[in-house]
Amino acid sequence: MKHRWQDRAIRTLLLGAASMSILIVLLIFFFLGKEAAPFLIKPGLSHLLGDRWIPVSFQKESFGILPLLTGSLLVTALATLIAIPFGICGAVYISELANQKEKEILKPFIELLAGIPSVVLGFFGLVVLAPLVKEVFALHTGLTALTGALLLALMAIPTIMSISEDAIRSVPTSYKQASLALGASKLQTIWKVTVPAALSGITAAVMLGMGRVIGETMAVMMVTGNAAIITADPFNSVRTMTATIAAEMGEVPFGSEHYRALFCIGIVLLLATFALNLVAQRVLKKYHMI
C-alpha cells in the first residue's frame, strides 16, 4: 500500500517536471502578449506596419517593423540556400558512402560545429569573414546581409546534416536493393531513390535549420551592419528582428512605446519559429520519423 503511494507521488512529480516546459511556453506567450498589447491600442497596429524603424529621435519616432522583417527574411533565405547543398551532400556522404572510420571522424566535428557559441562565430565573422567578403566581391565594406547569411549557414549546416542523415539512414534497404538489382549505379540509386524517399525528413531538417537561423542574434548583430532598410540586395546592410531586440532592450525606458514595440517584434519572432517547428514536427511525424 505504502509503496503504491510513493510510486504515485514520484510519478506525479516527474510528470510535473516534464510539463514545466509547456507551462513556460504558455507563460512566455502570455507575458509577451501582456507587454505588447498596449501598443495595439495606442498608437495602433498600423504603426507597426510602417517601413521606417527609427526608435530614438528628436523629431518623430517610427516603429515600422517591415524593414526588420524583410531583413530577417533575407538573411534566413540566403543562409538556407547556402546551407542546403552542404547539409544534404554531407548527410548523403556520411550515411551512404563514408566508411566506419570516416564516420567516426566526421560526426564529432559536425557536432562540434553545432556547439560553437554564436558570439565566438560572430567575432570570427567580424574579423575574418567580413574582410574576406569585402575583398572577394570588391565592396566598400564587409558588413552585409551576405556575411551574416554565411555565418548563419555555418550554424544551420550541423542541424540540417544530422537530421537529414537520420532520414536517409531510415530509408528501407529493400528500396536500395531493388534499385541496384534493376541495374542502377550507386550514384543513381542515391539521387533517384534514397534521397527522394527521405525527402520529407530532409524537408523537416531544413525547417529546423531555418528555425535556428531566424532566432540567432549575436552573430548577425556583429556582421550585418544593422541598418534598417528594406532591400533584397545581399550586398546591402540589413537589420534583423533579433538584433533589434538585443541591441535596444537594454536601454529602452520601461513601459514606453518603444518598449512595447520591441515586445511586438518578440511575438512576431516567436510565432515564426513556432510555425517552423510545428510544420517540421508534422512532417516528421507523418512519415514516422519520431
Binding site: L15, G16, H140, L143, N226, A228, S237, P253
Partner: protein
C-alpha cells in the same frame, strides 16, 4: 492523454510557485545584510565609462583594502534604471538624466545627486587612407543624416560614404545626434554597430567609412584610424580633438561624464566619489584617455 497533461500542468504550477518562493526567500536574506554598514558598493552604467570606472575602483580598493567596489556596464540608461530600482549605489552616465527619468525618481521618492567626474571628447574618425582631414559641423550633420552620400561633396574622392554609428541605446549616439546632427534623424542607411571596438575595426578596414568614438578609444587605436579636425563653421579654425583642446573648450564635440547617487552620498559611496574627484582620481582620468575636470 489530455487529462494527464492538465494534471502535469497543475503540478508544474505548484513546483514553479515553490521555486519562486525559494528564490524570494534568498533575495530577502541579501537585503537584510546590505542594510548593515556597507563596505561593498556597486557602480553600473555607461559603457563609455566602464574602463575609467574600473581603473578608479582598482586604485580605490588598493588604497582601502577592506572596501569592495564592483563595476558593470550596460549603458547610461541601464545604469539610471538600476539606480532608480535601488540595485546599484552609483550610476555612471555619459549623458544627463532625462526629464522622464527625473519624474520617475521623484515618484519613487529619490533625489539623485549629479556629480561631474570628468570630460570626454568625441572624435570623428575615418580611414588613414582617406584624403579628407577636416570637416565643419554642418558637413558632418549632412553626412550622418544622409544629405551627403559621396566623399566628393566634402572635397574628397568620388566614392560612396559608408556611415557608421553606435546603436541607438548608446549615450554617445544620443549626444552626437543632439550636438552634431542638431536633433535630426540619422540616415537609415547608417550601419549601427554594437560596440565602439567594432566601429574602430570597421573604420580601420573600410577605406571609405566614417564613424565616431570616444576620444580615449580613438587615441588608443593609434594609426589604425584618423581623427578629423572639426570646424565650428566655415570661417573657424579646424581643431583636432586632444586632451588640451577638450579641456580648453576649443574642441566642440565634447561632453561631461557624470556620477549619479540615489541621495546625498554617504559612507563608502562618498569616500569613493571623493577619491575619484581628488588628485589621484583625476590622474586616472587622464591615463584612461579622458579629460580631468579642471
Amino acid at each position: 492523454m489530455a487529462r494527464t497533461i492538465v494534471k502535469g500542468l497543475w503540478v508544474a504550477i505548484v513546483l514553479g510557485i515553490a521555486l519562486l518562493m525559494l528564490a524570494n526567500g534568498c533575495s530577502k536574506g541579501q537585503d537584510a545584510a546590505s542594510t548593515a554598514e556597507k563596505k561593498y558598493i556597486t557602480i553600473k552604467g555607461s559603457d563609455t565609462m566602464v574602463h575609467l570606472v574600473s581603473s578608479w575602483a582598482e586604485a580605490f580598493m588598493q588604497a582601502h583594502p577592506q572596501r569592495e567596489v564592483s563595476v558593470t556596464g550596460g549603458g547610461s540608461g541601464t545604469g539610471i534604471a538600476a539606480l532608480l530600482n535601488g540595485t546599484t549605489d552609483i550610476c555612471a552616465a555619459s549623458r544627463q538624466m532625462e526629464q522622464q527619468e527625473k519624474a520617475l525618481a521623484e515618484q519613487k521618492g529619490l533625489q539623485p545627486q549629479e556629480i561631474i567626474v570628468g570630460r570626454d571628447g568625441i572624435a570623428v574618425i575615418v580611414n588613414p587612407a582617406n584624403p579628407i582631414s577636416e570637416a565643419t559641423l554642418d558637413q558632418l550633420a549632412k553626412v550622418f543624416t544622409g544629405g551627403y552620400t559621396r566623399w566628393s561633396q566634402l572635397g574628397g574622392s568620388d566614392e560612396e560614404i559608408i556611415v557608421l554609428s553606435r546603436e541607438s541605446s548608446s549615450g554617445t549616439y544620443v549626444f552626437f545626434q543632439e550636438h552634431v546632427l542638431k536633433k535630426q534623424d540619422y540616415t537609415v542607411t547608417a550601419r549601427l554597430l554594437p560596440a565602439t571596438s567594432a566601429i574602430i575595426q570597421a573604420v580601420a578596414n573600410d577605406k571609405w567609412s566614417i564613424g565616431y568614438v570616444g576620444l580615449g578609444y580613438a587615441l588608443g587605436a593609434g594609426d589604425k584610424v584618423k581623427m578629423l579636425a572639426i570646424k565650428v563653421d566655415e570661417a573657424a579654425k579646424a581643431i583636432l580633438p586632444s586632451l588640451e583642446t577638450v579641456k580648453s573648450g576649443e574642441y566642440s564635440i565634447a561632453r561631461p561624464l557624470y556620477f549619479y547617487s540615489a541621495g546625498e552620498p554617504q559612507g563608502t559611496v562618498k569616500e569613493f566619489i571623493d577619491f575619484c574627484l581628488g588628485p589621484e582620481g583625476q590622474k586616472i582620468v587622464l591615463q584612461a584617455g579622458y579629460v580631468p575636470i579642471d
